[in-house]
Each structure stands twice: as C-alpha cells, then as structure tokens.
Symmetry: D2
Subunit: 367 residues, 4 copies
C-alpha cells in the first residue's frame, strides 16, 4: 500500500490484545482514537464518522479463521475489503461471502499477490490472445522448507496458526500455498481444473495438516497436469514455479526470479522475455511495471499491483461508476471461492486414498 502512495493507513486493529494494538498504532503514527480493540468496534465507529473522514476500505491480514467475520462485518457496514487468502476457514463461509459481496455490490479483493507480477500478466496475455494454442500439460509446483522443523513448538506464531486446523481450516500446505499454485495456473491459462487426484503426506510427528501434496490434474480443455506443494521440501525457499506446455508454445515462470519469462516454441530458440520491455511485452505487463528493465522488481511490487487494482475499483465505486467484476484487475471473491473448492476437493481426494474427485468449474454465467 505504501509503495504507490495512493492509500494512507488511518485506522486499525493490530492485535487481539488491545494494549498491543495501541502500541502498534502508535508506531504507525496513527490517531489513537482510531486504533480499535475489535473489528466490530472499528466497523461501527468508522461507519459512524462523516463520509469524508472515515476509512474507504479495510485490509484483512489475519489467520484464516479471522477472514470471514471481519470481511462480512465491514462489507455489511458499507466498506470495501481487501483480504488475504485462502478466503475463509470453510467452504461454507466462502459461499456465504460470495452472497454478501454480490448483495452489497462492494469491492472485494483477494491478495493472490503472484498475479501481480508483470510477467505473469504477460503470460496470461499470451494465452488469452491465442498465441499459445491448446494447453496440453501444466506443471505447477510450490515448494518451501520452512516447516521442516517444528517451529510451532518453538514460538513461531506463523507456524503455530498454519499448523492448527482451528485457525487454518482443513488444508495445511494446500491452503497456504496450494491455493496460490492453483490460482496462478488458472489465471494464466484460463483453462480450469476439472478433476483432481491428490496424495497428501505428513512427515513430522504431531502435525495434523498436510505438509506435502502431490496431485494429478485434468483440465476442462483436455490437458493434464501436476500440482505439487510442500512445506518440508529441504532447501526450498519460496519455489512457486509454473510450466505450461501448449500446442503452439510453452512458458516457464518462477517466482524466485520473477523478472524473467521463458517462451519456447517447437524448433525455435528459446526466448527470454524480461520485465520492462514495452517493445515486445503486452500493455498489461507494461502497466504493472514501475522501474526500468534490469532493475529488479520483487515480491512487494507484485503485491502492490493487487492494491493498485483494488484502489482503482474502489475509486470508481466512490465516483459512482463501479467496475464490473469481469473488469477487475485483481483476484475476486470468486477466485477465493475457487481456492476453497480446491482445498475441499483435494482433501476429499486425499482422504479417499488419492482418488479422482471432480472440481466443479464455475460457469461464466455464474460470475
């Protein structure tokens, strides 16, 4: 949010503990009267302020079990929402949230931040524009090793909630990183997964949620794929990598080296596309870039692009000219629902011994 100076942080709840929340608010130079004890209090108090003084939107960056309540509450109070993924604790909550968003007509953005990278947007453009042909094979992986020690037993709050079903839901790695992998591949190819066969594993004692999942995918368009995620893959840091082999070409993108997109065509030299080249990149990619080629952009810029998109939609809504969901340049409540469907389908498959399970594909008319 800070990066583009379009948004000013003016109010918030920063901890379940009110005193901690106050301290954080002070460090952030906030007006103490707008540092709240609970999200319910905040929603009510901000809604009571004059229109030109109250917040425009809220950003929800809490564990999964604290997504739905705040989202619904702020939406019902008339505020737009930007929320972390996975969207909710349960599939039912996601379905309920779709209803709230549709009814209120407010902006709801989900921070699948990897869609914000310029070369991810260019990859999407290559598929949408028909230059790649039909998808035949997708290999998507998201590999980390940060949970290969039982950090949750040694004071890590991040590890504690992510390994706790009460806070994370039924998915472990599936929810935390699997949803990113699914979102990335469907965002780029536009070809949804229609069936999944997922084999999940837990290697550390006392863990309750999946640490590692290998899944076979089938796509609506007839292609096949593999999705593999792990948080115990020794030596991996944040290895989200996507390869799509289509009839007319193939692309490779890796989050750890995000300024590069490889494009291969049969019988031709592989091409290395790099961020910032308006000469050959699509307008979508160029619009998502801040600095010249060769000066690396990273994780924060990708994240910021999701906020830039949300701010655009919020401004348009405030101006009385709201965008349609299909015009949104950021992941929506439907992407959030899709992620929850993925978690539930994968867990259902895994619990059946890695059997094939359909993944309902939302119809365009449903959006």
């Amino acid at each position: 949010m800070a990066l583009d100076q379009q948004v000013e942080l003016v109010a918030g709840v920063f901890s379940r503990n009110e005193a901690n929340s106050k301290v954080t608010g002070e460090k952030l130079f906030l007006d103490p009267s707008r540092v709240y004890a609970t999200y319910e209090e905040m929603a009510a108090a901000e809604a009571a302020l004059p229109a030109d003084r109250r917040i425009d939107f809220v950003s929800i960056v809490t564990p999964n079990n604290a997504h739905f309540g705040p989202s619904r509450t702020f939406l019902e109070a008339g505020f737009h929402v930007v929320c972390d993924k996975p969207m909710t604790l349960t599939l039912e909550e996601s379905e309920a949230l779709v209803e709230v968003v549709e009814r209120t007509g407010l902006v709801f953005a989900l921070t699948h931040n990897y869609t914000g990278y310029p070369l991810v947007r260019h990859a999407r453009h290559l598929f949408q524009s028909g230059q790649m042909g039909t998808v035949r094979k997708v290999l998507v992986e998201y590999l980390q090793d940060w949970l290969m020690e039982p950090q949750e037993k040694h004071g890590s709050k991040q590890a504690a909630w992510r390994t706790n079903p009460a806070e994370s839901g039924i998915g472990g790695a599936l929810g935390d990183i699997g949803t990113h992998a699914l979102n990335l591949l469907e965002y780029i190819t536009g070809d949804p997964v229609c069936e999944i066969c997922a084999d999940k594993s837990i290697f550390l004692p006392d863990r309750l949620l999946d640490e590692d999942v290998n899944a076979l995918l089938r796509f609506e368009g007839g292609g096949k794929g593999v999705l593999t995620v792990s948080q115990v893959a020794t030596g991996e840091e944040n290895g989200l990598r996507l390869r799509v082999y289509a009839s007319e070409g193939a692309i490779t993108w890796s989050q750890e080296n995000p300024n590069v997109l490889e494009l291969a065509r049969h019988g031709q030299p592989r091409q290395i596309l790099t961020r910032g080249h308006a000469e050959y990149l699509s307008a979508e990619a160029t619009a998502a870039t801040r600095i010249p080629t060769g000066h690396p952009e990273g994780y924060l810029e990708g994240f910021a692009n999701v906020y830039v998109g949300a701010v655009e939609a919020i401004r348009r809504h405030i101006a009385g000219d709201p965008m349609k969901t299909s015009e949104y340049r950021f992941p929506t409540v439907y992407d959030g629902l899709r992620g929850m469907q993925f978690i539930y389908s994968a867990v259902e498959s895994a619990n059946a011994g890695a059997a094939w399970v359909p993944m309902k594909v939302r119809k365009k008319s449903e959006e």
Copy 2:
C-alpha cells in the same frame, strides 16, 4: 565403446537387409566374412570360431521387439550381452530373460546410460552412505518435444518404431523415457516405488501409444513422488531432471547439465558440486570421470561408463573369476525386469482411469 579403446568391433548384423548390412560393415572396416545377414547366423558362426577368434560379447541396439530374441540366442550360444532398454517387448519376455541370464551365468548389461554420469553416481553415494536421511519427496521428469510433430508420417525411422506398438510394446513415452526416469530415481535413492497412479495422454491424431504421462508415486520407505514424462512437451529437448527431498538434505540433477549436482541442506547455503573434484566427491564418482573439472563431459562418456562396467565384468568372467550381480557397476537384467514391471503397472493404472496399482518390489533375496 570406442571411447575407452577396450573393445574392438569385429562382427555384426547392421540391418534387416543383408546388402545394407554389408555396406555398413565395409564402412566400419570389418572383415566381410563376419558381417552377417541375421543374428541367428551370427551367433552360430561366431560360436563356431576358435575361442580366441570369436566375439566376447554382443551389443544389441535395435527396436524393442528385437531385444529378447537376440539376447536369448547369444546368451544360449555362450556370449555375454549388452542390450538397449526397455529390455524386451513384453513383461513375459523379461521374466524369461531373467531365467536365461541366471541359468547361463553370463554377463547381461542394460544400457540405462544415465546411471553412468559421475554425479549421478555421487548422488547415489550420498543416499547409500546415509548422509541424506529418509526420502520424503521425489520429483522426476523426463520431457522432450521431438514427437510433437507426426515424424513417423514423414519418414523418421526412429519415430516410426517408437510409435508402433508392434515394435515398442505397450508403452510409448513410458517405455522410451519413463523407464529411464524410474531407473534413475531408484538407482540414486535405493528406495523402490511400491505404488503408482498414472494418467496417460495422447494428443496427436492416429497415435496409439502414450505421448505424455503424469504419475503419482509412493515409495517403500514412506516417501511420495511425482514422475512426469512427455514427448510432446513443447520446447523440451532431453529434459531428464531429478529432485529428491530427504530428511537430511536434497539433491537436484539435470541430464542437460550433467556436470553439476546441487546439494541443499535446511538452513545452509546450497552447494554446487561439480564433476572432477576428487577432494570432495566419492570414489565412485571419481572413478567414472575421464577429464579434468570444468572440461565438460557429456552423454557419450556416461554411456561409455556402462560399457566400462560391462567390460570389467566380462573380463572377470573370462578370467574365471566372475563378479556377483550385486558387484556389477552397470544396470542388470533385474533393472530391465523392473522397467517392464513399471511399464505394465503404469499402463494398468492408466487403463483403469489412473487408479492406484501396486508395483511389486523385488526382494533382495531374489537377486
């Protein structure tokens, strides 16, 4: 064979067509009387020569349907055999060949050439020596794109027999490259696949055999994995790549850059091991290296190492001091049988809609 000058080519059958065979023999500077029309003729004629004049072993480099007959015939005639993979056209033939090899006590080497790379041997050493701990996740892929055009319709002999079940057997990409992928991973980890769930695809019209397969794997030791192969993966050349994530470390090796082995350990800098460093590589790796570090070795040297191993065993046999199979430094008839079990299990799984199928693990006592 040429590389190490331990073997001299002195006789052969070089074509199904006798005239072509003669022409090739002449180009190879062979004695015309030892250029034969059929393998049966060759086996009989060479066996009739005095012991110091006849061939020591035969090398079989024909399509899959011409592996079993020649192998059995030469073995029965008292000759050692080096044979291409997959070992035979059918699983039954492989089982029969195991019997012949065991009964004759002769050397049978299978050219899973990728086991010949020095850093593959070092990777195996790392697992065998216990430095890697328990295997948790294996990602093996073998991706090519050379069959994404219907080359078999345009005169390619290589494409013609590989896409023809009568010559290739029931596996397409599975047999041609999948067996390499399986062999490589089991060779390195020593942890056999015990269950497989394979989804196969054919994208080009008129093709009868699998072009692309994605499979989930389960290992005897409790780990999980993915095997993915394709001969229609746009832009891929000969992309055999293996990643193994184990409890104490992880390795990455890629056939297209074979002089490098990456070794990762949790919380430590990734290490780049390079061929030729006797200071830190195992004796097995060093023994398989010909030239100094930084001077790249490639495909031919790896292949040659299989021959070096076979020649060692053949010399020992001739000297009356035969090696045990467990001492062989090359893939054996049991690896060949294993490859056929893999093809049959994968096809069985795929034909059942990608269901889980056990892959019988041979007992050590069976070897």
Copy 3:
C-alpha cells in the same frame, strides 16, 4: 522513502517550470504553499518555518549539474541532504562540498543505492571480517544498452542530459554507471584502486561523452582488476556484476539477480547464499532485509536501505547525538568525492591514450 513509512514528503520543487512543479505537487497531495519555484526559495522558506513544521532533510534527484548548488544551499540553510550520484558536475565542486559538509556537521548521504542490497552488505562483511584473505583479482562490469540508439534525438530527457557534458560533466557512462561500479567494489573489498588505465570509446555519431570504457585497475593491496562499463552493450539491461578473487575465497554478485551471492573456495563446492537466512548471513545483511527468503527483494528495497541509513543518522542528529561519519550506514560525501576522482582519473588516462594514472587514495585520517 515511501517503503518504510519513516519519511513523509511535505515540500518540494518538482520542475524548473513552476507550473509543472505545482501540478506535480498536487498529484502528490502536497500543501500548495510548500511547492516551490526554485530550490533557493524552498531553502529560505522552509528555514523560516518553526522547527517542528519545517522539513528535516531534502532529497536531490536532478541531473548532475544541479547537485552542488542545491546541496550547498540546503546544507548552509541547516538542512540534511540526500543526493544522487555522481555527486557534482566537477571535481572542484565535490571538494567544495566536502568542506561544507565538514563545516556544518550535517548529514549528507549519496545514493549509491547498490550498497543497500543485503547480499552486498554480506559480501562486505566477508572481506572486512578477514574470511576472504587478500584481494588478487577484481572483475567489475556495468553493462547496459539503452543508449545504443540516439534516444536523445528522439525526445528522451534521460538520454538528453546524460549525453550532454553541460549537464553530466566530463564523464558519460563513466559518471552514470562507472561510479557505481567503482563504489561497489571498494565498498565490498575495502581495498582502494590506486592506479587506472582506461580506454574509452564513442560509437554513435554526434556523441560527446564516453559510451563505453574498459579499464585496468591496480589496488593498494597488490591485487589487479578490470572495470568495464558500457551503455551500448547490445542486449544488456542493467548488468552490474562483481567478481572478486581473493586468496581465501571468491565472491560473485549480480545486480540483476540480487538475492543471491556466490561464494567459492578452492577445492570446495561453490556455495549459493540467499537473502534472508539469518542462520548464516551476517547481522548487517539481516538488518537490511524486509521479507522472508525466497520472496524476492529488488531495486527499490536496496534504495530504501540507503534512506533508512540516512534517516537513522538524521534522527540521531536531531536527537543531539550525531553519528560519526565512520558509523554511517550509507555512502557519504567522501564516497562522492572518490567517484569524482575516479571520473577525472579515468578521463585523464583515456585522453592520454589509455595511460596509467594514479588514483589518489584518501587516507583514513582524512575522514
């Protein structure tokens, strides 16, 4: 500045044209009364404000010929300064600026932003802590191609001033990127260049300043090196790369892939150090990192680290407890002077047909 939310932009001059300046100020949500027509006006007006209302420091991001005047003016008015590099138009101006900074005792930070990358700081730590031994060979390069077309003839303001001696000074690529290369190598090794032999080239017609320079270096510690820079190196984007070969090890760092530092030691596997690993990186590196390993940081974070350092020094100064220059965690006025000495020495060498020219090494006592 925005990234860390430690600084708020409250006043400025944004163009030589007052109307343009006003428009920009409005876009930045500034109080119109603090958007000024000239820097002289701004310095005087801000100085006239009450202490708690006026700016704390000024950031100078203008062409080289507009560095010295504003820097001196704001310093004389009692304001701290953050300034772009090269520090001034001429060597004489830099010498004069050193005098002003020393006399006023105010903070002066020079944005050699590449020193802000965490792994650059770790590389410096490796040398400072004695783990690398004696420097033997340094290869530093900074290669771009953005000036290989005459952009200055087609409306590019960036190209126009950089190719104009009246705005850039006597160095072209030397000043724009050569000073970065020199600064980076001396920052990391701590071993100053003492002699230089530079060969400069101009390939495009009508260009007046060096587009490309190759230089031999000799270091005070006895090592040797090469510095090569170009803005017409076809296909290069922002290729600042440093390799240092020392008696006990070698490091490689590349700006385009800044989250990685390679460390080699004779006879050992090369190590790949990655950003964010507090387990094995130095405290300096860890302090300069914002997000977890594997989530790439880029150019902006490096730049922000220079600001973080400047803000730290400014806060300390405001608090009445100023830091010593030797404690500064950012490039200083002495680095700026060093850069100008480099430009002048290189140009002197090149003008003498690429003869050896001493590069005066500042004594520690002079700082």
Copy 4:
C-alpha cells in the same frame, strides 16, 4: 581420435624414458617394434616403412619445448602433423615452422580445440555472414584456479612444466590459456586484435611466469575489448567465456556450458540457441554435431572435431587433391604463429609496465 574411428594409433613415443614408453605402448596394444625411444628414431623408422604400412600423421602432445623439434622432424620426413598449442617455445621457432609447413605443403593442425564446439562454429557463422554488424566490445576471459596451490612443489608434472620457463616459454597463463582466449575471439569475430595493453601478475612465491593477466584490446575494425586470464582465480575451473557486443547483436558463449549460445538483439527477447537444431543453426554447426539436441556433448567432441578436420585434409592430401589452407576446418600454423605473437606482445607490454604494444595483423595475402 578414438571417437570417430577414422584413425588408428599404431606407433609412438610415450615417454622420455624408453622403458616407460614401452610399458605404455603395451597398454595401448601396439606392436612393440613401433614403440620408439625418441621422435627422431620414430620419424626415421616410419619413413623407412612401405607407404601402406607407415603412419599417416603424428600427434604431438608434449610440453611446449618439445613441439618444434618433433614437428619439424616429422614434416621433413614427409608426415603430416597435429600439434598442441602454444605452437612452439619461442616466436622464432614458430616463424621457422611456418616456413617448413609452407615448403613441404603438408598438413599441420594446431589443437585449439575450443574452435571445435558446434556453437562456436555457429557464432563464427553469425559474424561471417554479416548478421552481427560491427564489433564494438569483446569481453573474453579464461579463468582457472588449479595453480593457486604450488602443485609443482608437490609432484604435479602438469604444474611443473607449465610453471617452468624452460619448458613453457615466456608465457605462463598467457601461453597455456591466453592463446586459447585470443584464438577463440579472433576465430569467431574475424576481427583481429591490433593493439594490446597487458598487466601481468604473480601472486605465489617462487613462481617465474605470469599467473594472471588483465589486458585491454583494440581491434582492427575499431572495437575495443578486455582479455583476462588467470590460473589463480579462486573457485574457477575452466572458465573460458566470450561475449561480443556488436552493432546488430551480441553473443555469449561459455565453454563450461558449451551446448548453449546466447544471442541478444537490442529491444528483443534474448535467444537461447542450443546444439543440434538443424532447423535454425548453420550448416557448419550441424556438421560438427554427433548426437541429438539435449544429449550433451562436451570437451572430447570439440577436440575430436579438430581431428576430423585434420583427417579430412590428410585424406585429401593422400588422395592427391590437397585442400588450400583457407579451406582447412581446423586451426593452422598461422594460428599458431598468431598465438606466439600474442604471447610476445603481451609480455612486451607487461614488461613495459602495461604499455600499449601493437600486435601485427597478418595480411590475408600472407596466408
């Protein structure tokens, strides 16, 4: 030689010690009567054999001080010669050898083996065919670290002669690897170095010859360059790397990854050309390739291509239809002379404190 089965080793001198030579000959399965004590004896004895029984050519793989004598002797005895580089111990010997080769009209091939790599040949094609425009900047490096320990004091014969001026001549790294670097760049660009400014260093005590050299280059065509070589560059193995930036494009090639050639053009995606693609590589590159793309070739295949070229010329000579030197597809006696000119010019420059020294460019008419 073994790789292509065009040449059979039938005679030789394998050591200065006759007994050792005999032992080696036996290991190579040679006729003992053709294992000689000295090269003089061998030349005389072979020349005395009937034409269809004697050797066709000799391969000289000795230290530099044993190149000229054997080369001259065998040539004078009517035998073709393949010889290691640098061509001779002194420049005078090289000049004399040119005379012998020209007078006898026999084939003389110099094993600058790096010219044998298919993608090096394609790079040359790109320049020769005019697709690259004018050379502006060349960066060539050849970096190793194998002499950073005093191996010559610990029994290494390779280190002993290479650090001994009596056996190596006046160049250390310059002769051993610098000549390769020079040869590679001139082979590819066709644009000869016309001036050099070389700074050489010795870091280990007791060493007499250069271990490390940095040199500025100027080319006949107006471009500039840097050549840097080292045998004490910590962590480097056999790092011969070439980058050429020309007006219409740039190429990058690295010996340690020889199956890849990068081609960059301003404002276009970088292209990764890989060995074996007849669809887009030149005929010269395709002719120099043995195995399919993606199956790596290495050092030995490159070396073998020099032999293939020499054998072609020798066959033509034997057949009474000798090739012209300009038709030779391997480095010639003139390349050898050029290498010695390079060593002498670089040493002259370095001894003058790294002053500019002309490097006489041979006229085409001189060939």
